[in-house]
């Protein structure tokens, strides 16, 4: 991989300063997506700003669940508050990548990267989370803007994700057989003020499936989804799954997510 200058700021302010000073810099949190991308030559930043020294990890539970950006998947998966408040989120984190990746990868890194097959974006969108950055708070509905793109400005850094507490929520993932990223992952939530369903892995980036949400509005049960067909508008086909198959899996995974919802 291409070489780069390495920075390890001790505060968010210093991180932002470093990013502003180096326009070709990239933030690195757990590095579990960025380092492979750099090894493949898909990314070649001039500078890496490692957020690892910020010590910005941890979970707090009040009227909402706040997970600091540097919290690893393993920490989220095993955190008692997450398990109590949104067990589906703990379950999602417990199945990202593999155990070794979960020891490194962080929620902030995952959502800032917004890989179209990543798990966390679907939870953020499915739960209607709010993304906290060094500068502002952004609703998940506004945050994920497309393939690998987000509403983050240059140098803006995610500091935490705030999840409202749903009545119940569930997540079901159909992993890509080779990479084990989501080939389709559906996060459903009964928020108390309506049902939300967000889909990841479909190819063009995380999105809310209106067909699923509409059906669940009539009753938050798998039976409500019988016969529901999701169109292929937001769905791509590739080597592993045709668009039709992926669209079909959205309904199947949505049912399983609803069945599993707690």
């Amino acid at each position: 991989m291409e070489n780069f200058n390495y920075h390890r700021p001790a505060s968010v302010d210093d991180a932002v300063k470093a990013a502003k000073a180096h326009p070709e810099a990239k933030y690195m949190s757990g590095g579990q997506t960025l380092i492979p991308a750099m090894k493949q030559g898909l990314a070649a930043p001039s500078d890496i700003i490692d957020l690892g020294a910020l010590k910005n990890s941890g979970v707090s539970l009040g009227s909402s669940l706040v997970i600091k950006a540097g919290t690893t998947h393993a920490e989220v998966a095993s955190n008692a508050d997450v398990k109590k408040a949104i067990p589906a989120l703990a379950g999602l984190a417990a199945n990202i990548g593999d155990p070794h990746v979960r020891h490194k990868g962080t929620i902030g890194g995952s959502i800032a990267n917004n890989d179209p097959a990543a798990d966390y974006p679907s939870a953020c969108l499915g739960l209607g989370a709010t993304i906290h950055t060094n500068a502002r708070k952004i609703a998940a509905d506004d945050f994920f803007t497309g393939l690998f793109s987000t509403a983050l400005e240059e140098g803006e850094v995610v500091t935490a994700v705030e999840f409202p507490l749903p009545k119940k929520a569930g997540y079901a993932k159909f992993p890509n057989p080779a990479s084990r990223y989501a080939m389709i992952g559906v996060f459903v939530a009964d928020t108390g003020s309506g049902a939300r369903a967000a889909v990841t892995g479909a190819g063009h980036g995380v999105f809310r499936a209106k067909e699923i949400e509409g059906a669940l509005a009539k009753g938050f049960s798998a039976a409500s989804l019988n016969g529901v067909k999701v169109g292929t508008d937001n769905v791509a086909g590739d080597l592993h799954a045709s668009a039709e198959y992926r669209a079909h899996l959205i309904t199947v995974m949505a049912k399983r997510a609803v069945d599993a919802a707690k």
């Binding site: 057989p177 080779a178 990479s179 080597l239 198959y245 199947v252």
Partner: protein, 788 residues
């Protein structure tokens, strides 16, 4: 001897300690002083002319030591890569082997083809400079699918205008046609045997070193057969005579066939060292390079027809196969879809007439060569899929249809060369059906159906031929080498033993099993036996490890050398104990004189051999060291029955192997623990072929779409079940140990078992491999449509 470490004992592996403590010594673990690093410039095109290579900018990059292209190879008169088995077409013409220079000359023929090598002080510098080598390509039409290759406008080699390497046949066409005319029923099937990428976990690596003082080359390499590598690099590439070239294959991290072959990278490393002032040149494949440029496996398209009489007896079998060779003929590629494939088309069955024709075709893809099973999985797939299909069409139970047609008398001469020497196929079938609880299957199927899932059961009654031999016979069939094996037994004065063998372990545990044989025969503690392999300076010559040959051939060579050791030791013991050799008996490590209480331990005899005080050295030479070469009189024929049971998720199309039973006849077994491990690994690779793995080249771009673990599904732990194994035993009559071979059986048997189960579950004739969730779901949609 019965000390718990002899033949048949589950001895824990001697090699494990170093692997478990990180002290293995793989090629990439080795670093030599003043070492440089090679990185290869590879073709981004499936087929193109090379108009110009400009290295000027790259040469100025930091750390660059040298950049070489095909022109430099041509100027140094380094020969091209060879294919070591001559196949003649049925019209008598020799196969059409296009040139295969180690760095492309004038043309590239697949994505990943070797265009130039950059050698630099560090790996990163070599890679960066490789990116600066400018190549002007003239893109040509390409063809990546074997089904399309014949006569395609993409003409890959001048010598083969229609892309056909050979059109080969075996069997009696007229007799087979006659059988089909009499047939009561003919079953037809079209099958694709998917292209696989071997993926040994250790990527290939090499360090080439030219000693300018001694005018001598050394090559460290990830090889299953270092002597064959030395022979080819000496005799065909013409790099240096054999005594000026040492090839060392240290610990090798898996091979599965892919490390048999002589590849461009390894040859270039050892060649280039001379041109960078004798500095060592190291190359380690990135996994991406392994995907692109290791020899792939399988890739057959087959049409087969099976004729049966009114009583359900098979009377004739016709097969036509198109076999992809890739862009060049790799080292043993031509024998795989011919003598290793069509000679097994009789399966376990008594088939009076067989005719098979094979078109081997160039495609703009990585070369295809032997991969675990090499031809025999392809044969088993064709035989076992069509036999299953025939049984279904005839409304016969698939097990009973097989049983009715099994060979039961031995020796059995098939119409396709092979003469099966021993076996009991029905015994394996009975045992497998018992272990798999076939009787309970209908209830399990009903339980699955109640959940909306589909359950299926599939058989595979495979036979394979391994320990390929004898040399004279295979020579007459076109082999460029003999397939014997060598062994040398060195007994040290203190009675410890070193075995030098031409076999080479890359995971099979030779250091343990070979020592068990010695321990058994000489009564020596297993820890006092060392196995030496993998170094052409230590072992004089050998043919290496592939084709499940190291037990049946390699150990038999050791056994023969041990016979000689025992004979000489008896003469020495007799002299020391003042008796005659005929009266000396050797048992449990002790020499005794019949009818007396005289005895000598093996160690004492060894010491006497070297001290040489107590015998007449005009009659008996001092020392105790013997060697043997063993050329088997026949192949060995492992066989067995595997039963797969699958459950298909009706919602998603996901196929899960829920039960897998394997009953194998490997003859006598040295170490059951190791044999079971071989079976487990083989089955998993076969399940991988059936359900997960498939190399896909894009028809339009010619790019390899499955070029990493992101897109090529390797079986992981959660993808497979634990296996149920059983064994039957008919000792092999053609070697003194009665051994067959076990390394490939699992991979040979399992794809057909799994796909017979999948097609049984869905009640369809065929589902293509790999039966991924999407593929199976597509089938479910067809079924739903048909039902509507």
């Amino acid at each position: 001897m019965d000390n718990g470490t002899g033949i048949g004992a589950r001895v824990k592996r001697k090699e494990d300690h170093r692997f478990l403590t990180g002290k293995g010594n793989y090629t990439d673990d080795i670093n030599l002083p003043k070492q440089t690093y090679a990185y290869f410039v590879r073709s981004p095109h499936a087929h193109a002319t090379i108009n110009k290579i400009d290295t000027a900018a790259a040469k100025k990059m930091p750390g660059v030591v040298g950049i070489f292209t095909g022109e430099d190879i041509a100027n140094s008169k380094l020969g091209g890569l060879i294919c070591g088995w001559m196949i003649h077409s049925k019209d008598g013409s020799p196969m059409k082997a296009g040139p295969h220079p180690v760095l492309a000359q004038g043309k590239v023929r697949y994505v990943g083809d070797h265009v130039a090598v950059v050698i630099a002080e560090t790996r990163e510098q070599a890679k960066a400079a490789a990116g600066a080598v400018e190549v002007d390509y003239g893109v040509l039409p390409h063809v990546v699918d074997v089904a399309d290759a014949m006569g395609h406008k993409a003409q890959i080699h001048d010598v083969a205008p229609d892309n056909r390497v050979f059109n080969w046949s075996i069997g009696d066409e007229a007799a087979t046609d006659a059988a089909f005319k009499k047939a009561a029923h003919v079953t037809k099937i079209d099958l694709v045997n998917n292209r696989l990428i071997p993926n040994a976990m250790e990527p290939r690596a090499a360090i080439g070193y030219y000693d300018t003082g001694a005018d001598h080359y050394t090559l460290y390499t990830t090889s299953q057969n270092p002597h064959v590598a030395r022979l080819v690099i000496s005799a065909f590439h013409g790099l240096a005579p054999e005594h000026k070239l040492r090839v060392i294959a240290p610990d090798v991290g898996g091979g599965f066939g892919s490390k048999i072959f002589i590849y461009a990278e390894e040859v270039v490393c050892v060649w280039a060292s001379k041109y960078v002032g004798g500095r060592p040149v190291k190359w380690t494949a990135e996994r991406t390079e392994s995907f692109l440029a290791d020899a792939h496996g399988r890739d057959h398209v087959t049409h087969a027809e099976l004729a049966t009489d009114a009583g359900g007896k098979i009377i004739g079998f016709k097969v036509h196969t198109k076999a992809a060779m890739g862009a060049y003929l790799s080292t043993f590629s031509s024998c795989v879809p011919t003598y290793l494939y069509a000679t097994l088309l009789s399966g376990q069955y008594n088939i009076p007439a067989i005719y098979a024709e094979v078109d081997a075709l160039y495609t703009n893809t990585a070369p295809v060569d032997a991969y675990r099973g090499a031809g025999r999985p392809e044969a088993t797939y064709v035989v076992e899929r069509i036999v299953e299909t025939a049984a279904r069409e005839l409304k016969m139970d698939p097990a009973e249809f097989r049983r009715k047609n099994f060979v039961t008398q031995f020796p059995h001469q098939t119409p396709v060369i092979m003469c099966y020497d021993a076996g009991d196929y029905a015994a394996a079938l009975d045992e497998a059906m018992k272990i798999a609880d076939v009787k309970g299957f209908p209830a399990r199927k009903a339980a699955s159906a109640a959940k909306g899932n589909y359950r299926g059961l599939g058989y595979s009654a495979y036979i394979e031929a391994c320990g390929i031999a004898p040399s004279a016979a295979i020579g007459s069939l076109g082999a460029g080498v003999g397939l014997w094996e060598s062994a040398e037994v060195r007994v040290n004065p203190v009675g410890t033993v070193e075995i030098l063998t031409g076999s080479h372990s890359h995971g099979q545990g030779h250091e343990t099993t070979f020592a068990q044989l010695v321990s058994d025969r000489l009564g020596v503690d297993i820890n006092n036996v060392a196995i030496v392999h993998g170094d052409t300076d230590k072992v004089q010559f050998g043919m290496g490890t592939y084709g499940s040959r190291s037990g049946a051939v390699g150990m038999t060579a050791i056994s023969k050398a041990l016979d000689k050791i025992e004979a000489k030791a008896k003469r020495i013991a007799a002299a020391v104990m003042e008796s005659s050799p005929e009266d000396v008996e050797f048992k449990n490590g002790t020499f005794t004189v019949k009818g007396t209480d005289k005895k000598m331990a093996f160690g004492e005899v060894a010491l006497s051999a070297y001290v040489a005080h107590k015998f007449n050295s005009a009659e008996i030479e001092p020392g105790l060291k013997e060697s043997a070469f063993h050329d088997p009189s026949n192949f060995v024929f492992p066989a067995g029955v595997h039963i797969a049971e699958v459950e298909i998720d009706g919602d998603t199309g996901v196929t899960t192997v829920v039960n897998y039973t394997a009953v194998d006849d490997f003859g006598n077994v040295i170490n059951p623990m190791i044999v079971e491990g071989q079976v487990h690994g083989g089955i998993t690779q076969g399940i991988g072929q059936a359900l997960a793995e498939g190399a896909v080249y894009d028809k339009v771009s010619g790019q390899l779409l499955t070029g990493s673990y992101m897109d090529y599904q390797m079986p992981r732990a959660a993808d497979v079940p634990s296996y149920k194994l059983g064994f039957t035993c008919t000792p092999c009559p053609s070697n003194p140990l009665g051994m067959k071979g076990c390394g490939e059986a699992g991979a040979i048997a399992s794809p057909a078992a799994v796909m017979n189960a999948v097609t049984d579950a869905l009640a369809v004739k065929d589902v293509p491999m790999p039966a991924t969730p999407n593929v199976v779901w597509n089938q479910l949609q067809h079924l739903k449509k048909a039902a509507e």
